[in-house]
Amino acid sequence: MVLLLVALVSFIIFRYVGNPVDNILGQEATMAQRAALEDALGLNQPIYLQYFDFLVSAVQFEFGNSYRGALPVAELILSRLPATLELAVTSAVFGVFFGITLGIYTAINRGSFISNFILSSSLIGVSLPTFLIGVLLIWIFSVELNWLPSFGRGEVIDLGWWTTGFLTMSGLKSLILPSITLGLYQMTLVMRLTRAEMLEVLKQDYIRLAYSLGLTNKQIYFFHALPNILIPVITIAGLQLGSVIAFAIITETVFQWPGVGLLFINAVYYVDIPVMSAYLLLVGFAFVIINLIVDLTYILIDPRLRDNQLKSER
């Protein structure tokens, strides 16, 4: 249902993106040639017919050929997907790991100088737009310090069905700046959420009980408090993973990262309708899958949900 709606909305948007015919034919084309191509591509058909045609072929994983470069869309997206997924996963891991760690730290050491510093500087992560963070990082680490590459994926190793930058030095170096750029917002969000939840949980009676039983701080924080804050944190982090994939567009443009986001942006400039619709469908699909996984993780983490399950099965 969600996917059907995504497809429909994207189709309506395409009406306003422009006309691909000029890009395909070039400036020397005559009016007659334009009309002929519009016919051939089915652009003159009413929107519901175009939508129907698209759905029929999408169900068969048949997305047609890109107008730009004339390669099959499915192949094009599959070849770009590894780059985007590696970037998204790295930045999500970065965001969640540092987010939770710093969140716990600032909750435990409330009011200390370092905590206040982390909290106030984390505002940068939420308030600065992604492209500006990217350009700033490039400026500092590539131009001034010359430590890290400013664009691209570095050297990648082709595994046949997957290209990876994880196995080469230049690939790993290239991953650092884009992952920070993409993950900073996510990290800030997770950190603030973890801190707020942690502060809330530490006031609860059972924590006081744990203290009175003489448990160490470490035991209390990590075995009693942490599991209780994980549900909201995982919900947010999971939903954010979807937007990380979606927001990768900006990061990929700034760093010339050859993923699906860059592919999509170029498709928009070129009015490459087959690529745009397939991409939007893919992102919609990713959101649906991620939500499903998040729901399933609850059951893993929260024993109460598991028990209900068992009861109903009985």
């Binding site: 070039g26 400036q27 020397e28 051939a40 591509l41 350009v135 490039i138 760093f255 050859p258 400039y269």
Partner: protein, 514 residues
């Protein structure tokens, strides 16, 4: 035994060092769309294909036509409809096959086939014939004195290779086809394709059997081409030394590049003119006096100074200076004169002004939207209340040429370097096959007839007279308000000796290291 092992190792390290010294890492904003040489008529695509494929004749780094795969050419003295080309001998394709007249006939027919975006440039051709193995004739429908201007980006492919790989026609987007030539090449050019990953990286290496070894410097042994779309990142990559040469340096970063040690900026006029078009049929702009008033209300000098930071060449005619028909008199732009403009507005009955929408692209030309914003302010001074409507090019162009706009921005490059190319698309009445970019409503039967006559006039001085007459008509009608010619900027390492090419096409066989 030990010695034997050492020598190759030393040799290898030596070759690696010298090879990397001659590698050029090249970046620009956009990637080539396809490697199929006839499928797209587009700047970045031609620029990359020019490294791999050759045409019969080409433009050098100054824009002048020089021989390439043809050594010489002329129209037959007794029949101006037939052009004869003598082909270069001993040329080999990258796969080792020999280049001969069969390949030329095949390639030109391929470029004229359905699905080719180059076919409009060859529409005057009736037939291409091989006379012998290294001579060909091109017969045109009427005499076409400027045929060779249309051949500079017409690349030659190997007939057998194309047949073996089933790429005898360019891919046709409308039919949803893909083909082998989109990602694979076999040319005669100075460089061979090693690997290509779209939007990411394309690697080329010098062709060891290149026919032009003695004709050009050929100092580059490897090209690594990376498109970098974000202009800030592109400049950063040059400043940090990750690339050696970039095209499309944004105007706000020119100072930064030229003042950095080890970098230099090369600048040249581009073959592209920017102008505003007006509806001559309906509304206030149908009054000639209004159009004249708007023309002198544009302060071209301040657009150059403020919007373009000095990087433009203001003009009074919609024709770049390389084009046949260009004169200093035409290029002279009218003085900015508000009093006179206001007087003209009053004479036309619009002393209190009027409202109009200006349609403008925001991702096509250098500072396009900012130029339009400046024009809005300038028009306000003579009472015209302009609403700016800036859109991405994919949306702007259908509006601009569909006749829905009363006031719009357009830029025009002239690949044939002849005025006819401007007249045919921008001046001729809009019909099925001509005037496709003339939505102004300007229509003059005499001018139309003169434009068509240019296509077969062989007497060059008579032809130039006609061109001058048409320009006089265009200047009088004032349906276009010229702004400026764009200026190209390439940033590169100081040790590179390379001119900026007016079509924005670097030909790396010409590059020298200091």
């Amino acid at each position: 035994m030990f010695k034997k092992l050492v020598i190759p190792a030393v040799m290898i390290s030596f070759t690696v060092a010298s090879a990397s010294a001659e590698t050029v890492r090249w970046a620009r904003a956009g990637d080539a769309i396809t490697m199929d040489p006839h499928a797209q008529n587009e700047g970045p695509t031609h620029a990359l294909n020019h490294q791999i494929y050759d045409s019969l004749l080409q433009r050098d780094m100054s824009g002048a036509i020089i021989p390439s795969l043809a050594t010489d050419w002329s129209a037959l003295p007794d029949n101006p409809k037939i052009w004869r080309f003598n082909l270069r001998k001993g040329v080999k394709f990258h796969n080792g096959a020999s280049f001969d007249s069969e390949d030329v006939v095949f390639s030109l027919n391929r470029a004229r086939a359905d699905g080719s975006e180059m076919k409009e440039l060859l529409s005057s051709i009736k037939e291409v014939r091989a006379v012998d193995s290294h001579v060909i004739d091109i017969e045109t429908n009427g005499a076409n004195p400027l045929l060779i201007n249309n051949l500079t980006n017409m690349f030659m492919m190997d007939k057998d290779w194309s047949e073996d790989n089933d790429v005898t026609t360019p891919h046709d987007v409308a039919k949803g086809e893909t083909n082998f030539a989109t990602m694979n090449t076999n040319g005669t050019g100075a460089f061979m394709l090693v690997s290509r990953s779209v939007d990411e990286k394309t690697v080329l290496k010098a062709n060891p059997n290149y026919w032009g070894k003695d004709n050009y410097p050929n100092q580059v042994t490897e090209i690594i081409y990376t498109p970098i779309q974000s202009s800030a990142t592109r400049v950063a990559a040059l400043l940090s030394g990750e690339v050696d040469i970039i095209q499309d340096v944004p105007v706000q970063d020119l100072g930064r590049v030229s003042s950095t040690d080890g970098l230099q900026l090369a600048t040249a006029a581009q073959n592209r003119v920017i102008f505003l078009g007006l509806n001559t049929v309906e509304g206030p702009t149908s009054e000639l006096k209004v159009r004249q008033a708007m023309n002198i209300a544009i302060n071209r000098d301040s657009i150059k100074k403020v919007v373009m930071r000095g990087q433009s060449d203001p003009t009074g005619v919609i024709m770049p200076p390389f084009v046949n028909g260009w004169t200093k008199e035409l290029n002279k732009y009218p003085a900015y004169d508000l009093d006179k403009a206001k007087a003209l507005m009053a004479e036309a009955g619009y002393s209190s002004g009027f409202d109009i929408v200006l349609n403008c692209p925001n991702d096509r030309y250098i500072n396009d939207e900012a130029i339009c914003q400046a024009a809005v302010g300038m028009m306000a001074q003579i009472g015209i209340n302009v609403t700016l409507d800036a859109k991405p090019k994919a949306q702007h162009f259908p509006i601009a040429k569909g006749g829905d706009a009363d006031f719009y921005m357009l830029g025009w490059g002239v690949p044939t370097f002849d005025s006819h190319y401007i007249f045919n698309y921008l001046v001729h009445t809009q019909t099925e096959d001509r005037g496709s970019w003339n939505p102004t409503g300007y229509s003059n039967a005499d001018v139309d007839a003169m434009i068509v006559s240019l296509e077969s006039e062989t007497d060059l001085s008579a032809r130039n007279d006609t061109i001058a007459k048409i320009w006089a008509n265009v200047q009088d009608a004032q349906m276009y308000l010229p702004i400026h010619n764009q200026v190209l900027n390439w940033g590169m390492k100081s040790n590179i000796d390379f001119d900026v090419q007016p079509e924005d096409q670097p030909h790396f066989q010409f590059l020298k290291f200091n």
